[in-house]
């Protein structure tokens, strides 16, 4: 099985690096500067699960070496259009596209472009970042991906093979029988944490120090749960207990990566991770006051960023 990974960033670099390390046939589709760095330094992973530096295969164009059996998409949502353009030449009639993005909306976009049958569901759970030198810094104790057929039917051959390769690589997770539920579960967690950490500009522990921090946090989780339930994917009580207890852990230093992005003046997945949740809530007639004000906060950030006002005194 031949796997193409778009980009060699934090998630794609980590997962692709582990797959390559365990003998899978992995190619990275990258831009010229990244290829130069990879050829010079190799793909560098510094990880709680062991460091490794290795030579990897790279191409500059999707048409090179294609079509592939599996294309792993690990871009940010705001880069989706350029990502689609880049991978399109690598996608043949039998290629399976496995997006590992947050949220849901990208799946419709990808299905419209490549055909519903070629696009499966997928997500990543890994705390990882790219150093300024291009090294993959994996800091979380866990590193997992999850993927599967969106219609719940038995997995196609490419996914069964990808599952085997993932298990061999030491990356946790793999094939998931109800990937759409898993996508919603992750989105509920991510959307709750990202909206609250950004709106409050602090870790979950900082938020819980406010008189009503816990109440606001739990309301937000409930807003997201209702949206998922309206779509037919209520996580159920067991799932919700875990989310709630994680988000209300006193003293937690955990913050959404979106807050780190805000504090670096970077782009954020506001529309994809939050705006789309609100749009689905509206459609279902669900009130989401907490998501609304958090989304406004993110839009204010983007407006200020667009005028070059981040990092300069507001006053």
């Amino acid at each position: 099985m031949r796997i193409l990974i778009l980009g060699a960033g934090a998630i794609g670099g980590y997962v692709g690096g582990r797959l390559h390390q365990s003998g899978a046939d992995v190619t990275f589709l990258v831009r010229p500067p990244r290829r130069e760095a990879l050829q010079r330094d190799g793909l560098v992973i510094k990880s709680t699960k062991g460091d490794i530096t290795q030579k990897v295969k790279t191409v500059l164009k999707g048409a090179e070496g294609g079509p592939y059996d599996v294309v792993l998409l690990t871009c940010k949502a705001y880069d989706l259009n350029s990502a689609i353009e880049a991978i399109a030449p690598a996608v043949g009639p039998d290629t399976t596209v496995v997006p590992l993005l947050n949220g849901m909306r990208h799946i419709d976009t990808l299905a419209a472009k490549f055909g519903d049958g070629k696009v499966v569901g997928g997500l990543a759970r890994v705390g990882v970042a790219l150093s300024p030198e291009g090294a993959i810094l994996h800091t979380s104790p866990f590193a997992a991906i999850s993927f599967g057929e969106r219609d719940g039917k038995p997995a196609r051959k490419a996914l069964v093979e990808l599952d085997a390769a993932v298990k061999k690589s030491g990356v946790d997770g793999g094939l998931h029988a109800n990937i759409v539920q898993d996508l919603w579960d992750k989105w509920i967690m991510l959307c709750s944490l990202a909206t609250m950490c950004c709106l409050m500009r602090g870790t979950s522990g900082d938020i819980l120090e406010a008189d009503e921090g816990e109440a606001i946090m739990l309301e937000t989780v409930e807003e997201c749960r209702q949206v998922a339930a309206a779509a037919g994917y209520d996580p159920g009580e067991t799932g919700m207990v875990n989310v709630r207890s994680f988000l209300t852990q006193k003293g937690s230093r955990f913050a959404a990566s979106m807050l780190h992005d805000l504090e670096k003046a970077s782009m954020v997945e506001a529309d994809h991770a939050v705006g789309d949740m609100i749009a689905r809530a509206r459609k279902a007639g669900i009130a989401t006051p907490n998501l609304r004000i958090a989304y406004a906060h993110l839009q204010v950030y983007l407006a200020r960023r667009a005028r070059g006002g981040i990092g300069k005194p507001a006053l």
């Binding site: 709106l199 409050m200 602090g202 406010a210 204010v300 507001a314 006053l315």
Partner: protein, 310 residues
Amino acid sequence: MKILILGAGAVGGYWGARLHQAGVDVTFLLREKRAETVRRGGLVVKSPKGDAVVPVKVVTRGEEGGPYDVVILACKAYDLDSAIAAITPAVDPDTTIVPMLNGHAHFATLDERFGAARVAGGLARISGMLGPNGEILNSGGSGVSFGERDGKPARPALVALDAACKKAGIDGGLNPDINQDLWDKWVMLGTIATMCAAMRGTVGDIVAAADGAALMSETLDECCRVAAANGHAPNPKVRASLEAGLTQPGSKAVASILGDMEKGGAVEARSIVGDMLARARKAGLAAPNLRFAYAHLQAYEARRARGALK
């Protein structure tokens, strides 16, 4: 008339400098470090109404002098306790205290300490900040407002202070309805501080968000309802002009609390936002936006306290 001003920041410093220039007997009560700067270089004022270096009288704790007819409190709410301790030796039975703090919470503390009769109402509409060398950077606004909280005719000290302000070119002055003015200012400040803090942007940035103007108007409504429940709803004209200003696209207006946060400084969270929220609750009013903003400010304070601000 002898005036003591506690604090030589954007409000007290500007006001006192202008009074001194107009020949009024003004003394500043300052902390050692600030006292030294002002003694050495005078009060440096940069303002659209004219720059000046003003060699004002300065005292520090233990050498307060007095008695004074008027003591002006120009400190932040979170410094109120130390400010009270500092002015106490300078306050005698005939002294009138004019606090220029935001909100309402400080009155209970001052009344208890000095007796309500000695505490007048007061507020500043002096916009500006301190520069890196302690210079007063005034951005144009230079009004003050003060008066009797019981609505009775003003005592001689306030009449004299009013005359001194007029002589010094300070706008405003004696206000026969200072309580309404205090609420009007708190409604304005409560709204803009809530929104600029919770959204971390200027009015123009906020209005650029899809629901930004709506959130601003809702917040103004929350504050107006609290004022109304306390018998001081802003009149419709005041409210309309506030709303127009606070929802103006491209506006560079911003609450100073955001400037404080971006410098990692202390914030008047409780007196400007928390107390408004508490009064909303007491009156049985929903105030969701005040609630979010107060949580935001408390999360900021928690993060600041653990030394983890970015």
